[in-house]
Symmetry: D4
Subunit: 226 residues, 8 copies
């Protein structure tokens, strides 16, 4: 019988079970809890991915930990610097509607790279200037997986969903104001889209979008068990 | 001093004041109140427009009234049959994203016709098949006023807003289900659009959209008073 | 120049463009519009899928059309009876949390069958009796695509997301009452899930879930264009 | 194939396409991204408008850029100082319900001036003191375009909509507290107004209101293409 | 100890305690429960007021009860026919914005009459035609209590609040559609009004508005106890 | 491999696992599914409880099933008529704020009786007539478990929570209109209560409240395992 | 024609029109605008009331203005120090549910004092300890006007509404967390209350509550005009 | 008659009345008010529990008070150091879904300890790694009371509810982002759970959860009064 509310217990076996590494979600954790989780992951599998880690909180980590981490302030992610070789080059495209969506897009790109996938980014293709997305029509048609990051009204999701036959992952971002604040309009637009079969994630969830992409690529190697 | 809550008092002078006829909004009124409002309008200005009048409620009107009304069940509007000659032919285009948006579009078209304007309709140009709207690119560029009726995620508003330099009026429709039910997603998408300067109306408000169009056409004839 | 708000314009080329057939969404359409859309699809590609078609509305279709349609009242779908041979047998599992989720699950199953895919259904595996889902652990681990249909609090999404490494598609259903009415709790639970990389659809969108599955299977055959 | 999520891509051709210059929305962008967008606009069309730029962020811009920008802290806008001559003097009136709405009104006024339009402002005409708006009755009747900025309960929109026959643009502001916080009450009041044909924008969207005004003035010069 | 969930227990002493009679809220009760509550009230104080009683439910009451009830279908209220003499003639004015608000206004008027107060009704004075309310300016200034019933955007509340120095009671009605459906916009407009000191009730609560009026009239006779 | 979305799979072992029988939630199920679930429960454990079964749906059940069911239309519950002897007489009190809350209260009472517990009901003790609840002060203080069913503003929850030291279970009911419609105000009032330690359930969840009561009574017999 | 968005225009005649002085709402105004509004009020009527003025903002006012202002940080109000003699002593009681509600209560008390009314405060009478409010039962019964300030679940409104026959003004406060954050639960509880005839204000609107009280006291002196 | 809004009035008799000590909720109180409430509690019953007291606010308390307080920054609680001996050892288990939920769990644990109960904590048993909760299956089955603290989608509540037959208390935490921000998804998931009989509290209400546990333990000693 104890009187203390416990310690961190990182799910180090997740990669082995389902092929996706658990990331350390820094938001809502104390610095001590972040370090403890990183250590557990590092000790068990030799690799760590940290998400939603602000620059200020990264600076507050022990020097020893910072030394072996590759930190990117735009996506607020840190990860172990040793990256395995690309497993499936170029299978994933990542689009952004506007400049403000780049942070979320980069969270997706870095999560993919952490799992060995190099992605291709196409920035600033919002539909108010439709010619920008139309330039990439052939690429969208051929690509197995397309991640679309967009805020405001999220019209880009539907347009891409009508141009691509691959898995289209809609990541609403929290960019916007008034009714658009917090990303709820973009999220609902993705869910209510007239384009068939969009795979939608939570607002700003670049990590989750990358995981859907990884699951899709993993599905290539799975044989039906029945 | 009275003990009775009053009678209908139709704003018969509105057309004279601001150039827009008050319509009889049938929803929420008893049959007696609808007839009373129609009579007041008819007596004062010789013309009546009734909106949100279901077929069942139209049938319940006195035969005498039905005889001089032109009723359309799709838009649920009734109006006096004598229509003045077109004042500004072809100045307004009305687009619909899907088949279910036609009722709202027709409410706008008939309100315009009631005020003497013949409009041009372009149906079923939802963005999931982008080629459909692209066929009308030149028209959209040249048109003074474009009314766009769309439900679900309302992506059509942004695409048209980026193609047209005229007044673009976004009318969200209540078509959709799940998060899209009631038209709130389409409404918010119109308000949060990345396309600059969309004029947004309430959900299903085809009448209001026509009034914005009429105000725009009226603005052509107004000289700055200062 | 016309005065009529247009006619149905079915996107008959969608299958050719992105490999997904446009379905006729019956909800919100008049019987005439449904028939017109079915005819356009039938004439162009020889196959039709109709969704959200209540039994009463199916009965109201012309006898000629009903004769060549396979109608299922539980999923409220109708489709042409001639089904192509299975393309990828057994690649998709469809789970339901409770008995009330079966209608949505069957909409997914029939959309898949319409595209040539035979799926495997596993019913009534809600987490309040955890042993039910645990029995299918090995299958979940091996399956390329798993569709999960659940209402109420949607806890099943997270549990399956932690057991399967394939693409996990979360379809919230509108079953529930109080705060759970309309499916919003299940939807938000899917979006906020602690399981990594759930692909979420709109509430009750079995058709959309099937389309994500089809996109995933199509991604197997796509080579990166770069 | 690249590993970097892209660079800013400003829609420099928008003015040419639809007569409205894209503005740099500073909110949600890093200082580097703001400068990059300003440079692209400046290089391509020789003019820049920046919105939602706080005083602190303006001060953080490079001295070189600040030197050629006209910055206004109340509206949080910056623009190139060389302003073209007025194109349509006095065609637009801008009303505010209360003192707190002035920032949004000035964003509209400065966006108009950036496009060559000088507007007329009428401040503090909230309906709780009805005599204030009644003094401007004749002006409202004659004006082609009236922009109304109001927060709290937004009753001013309906009153102006009943007095003016020109295009009335309702801009809800986020001023208020309790149920009025964030501007949603004013927004919904504008959308649900009993005055016919209000053109509504997102909360605090003075830029968008100016764009509707510009579209209206542009519509004067458009001939129907059909 | 019992096994039955109880019987109706009407608060027959309320009039004695606070000067307001408890009304029988018919909505949500079975016919038996309505009759039981009416009987308890009748036996104890000899008078009954029933609210939210649809015509169909009134018809379903026992003939014996219907014979001594004065039923009004517009307000959906029934009350004992013997009405005491007016206690404070003309102290309360009841305004309606539109024809659809009359049902709620009449619920207030009849609740007042049940307590012996005859009120004065002024119908259809919505602000889109401002001249209608301006005609009653002097009356509003002089009146001790003004009840305002309005739906849609509820702008009438603020205008009356600025014209009257008496107690202004805002009763939002559920008339409206789109964002205005259910009366929430009118309710929030009343709460966020720029007019000082509006007394707001729940949506459609004509009974509650009358009770505030009765409390105000009662306050005339109360001396401060301290 | 199957092509059919499965059959009902009732959790017949739940009583054995956690001491609570799974109930058949009739809402959202077809008549066939209800019968199938009832049969599985009956065959396995010899007892059945059905909730949210309207009178119309009960009448539609096979005569054979209806013959051995005890149906109560107020609570919309059916259960096997053979009731075991009371296990813990009088340990649970059930309070209702108003007459309309009785249906939910009785769902709780009958769920308890199905598990062998006889409860005590106290009806119509809403706080607007505070003397009604004060009469039961001593009982509330002594009772181990008190279930409170209240709609509208749910003030009764806080008052009882301050008078009783036993487990107080707050069941919001969906009775109310305007902001109170659907029971959300009562629910939130229970959650935000200033009374310490209210156990809150979903709206109208009399069954769930009974289950909390049963868990509380079961806790009496549990010894700490550590 | 001007290019400047205007200056402050204080409604200095409001007291003369309706007996209520306009207050300067400091929130959302710049320091210059606050000073300008204060000067206009001071010049015209010799008295000023400022609300929602934080201590930091008060300190930032010019020394000259601060010297003649009576500032209270708890209610965040400032007013001219010369207070007229009490007009109606003791006619208003102000209750608070908890300590955190005192700021709002004091805003009401000081607004009353500004208009010459001295009120009586009764603190910390939340219903979780019902004995506290019961001690004041006779006072509540006799008082013409009772203002109740409460946050969280707002149960106090209903209890007082059942004990007092005077005008009961419910002021929800924003104290609370979780579902209670922002005061919406208390607001809705006031609106949905089972106590008849509560006069409800916006969240934290102590000023508005005082204005309802002042209107009630003014109604004493009004004779019905008809 | 007074002119001052009152002083703190702590409910010092609550423990005597219902066995639960009132805690000082620091949030929303000034430092002076916190000290005053602590003093009243200390003087009357010799013990104090303060909740929602940030480290910064604790540091601002007088040294004299801090000296006899045991402060814990993770749960933001302070309490008198003299703790009575454990009354019911080990009767309560406290589970957390993730590391971020520990603060809320510890608020529950310390509230229990303040009342003499030592609890057992089990950390980081989120359902995405189901093996973690399954390890504690036997414990959950035997435990009289289980408190579950979880944020995000709150799936843990349903899983525990299906494994334990004791009282299961669901405490949603505000950890999460996007749709999960503020804890509303976890709260609604708890309320809509398919597991029977969850006792739900407000978001982050560890104190309330402990009070439900205390009420449950108290119910052991209560005999039915009837």
């Amino acid at each position: 019988m104890t009187d203390e509310v416990g310690t961190v217990r990182f799910d180090v076996g997740r990669y082995g079970r389902i092929g996706l590494a658990e990331a350390v979600l820094a938001e809502g954790k104390t610095p001590e809890q972040i370090v403890e989780a990183m250590d557990q992951a590092h000790d068990a599998v030799g690799q760590v991915l940290v998400t939603r880690l602000t620059a200020a909180r990264f600076e507050a980590l022990p020097e020893a930990h910072r030394s072996w981490l590759d930190y990117d302030p735009v996506s607020r992610t840190a990860m172990t610097a040793r990256i395995p070789l690309p497993r499936t080059p170029g299978a994933v495209a990542i689009l952004t509607g506007g400049t403000s969506d780049i942070g979320v897009a980069r969270e997706a790109a870095r999560t993919l790279r952490f799992h060995g996938i190099v992605s291709q980014e196409i920035a600033d293709v919002g539909v108010a200037g439709l010619w920008r997305i139309m330039e990439h029509r052939d690429l969208l048609k051929a690509m197995p997986v397309v991640i679309v990051c967009a805020g405001m009204e999220g019209a880009l999701f539907s347009v891409v969903g009508g141009l691509s036959g691959g898995v289209v992952i809609a990541v609403p971002t929290s960019n916007g104001y008034g009714v658009g604040a917090g990303g709820m309009v973009a999220l609902n637009a993705a869910l209510a889209s007239c384009a068939p079969g969009l795979a939608v994630t939570n607002v700003d969830n670049g990590y989750g979008a990358a995981c859907i992409a990884l699951r899709t690529l993993a599905a290539r190697d799975k044989e039906s068990p029945v």
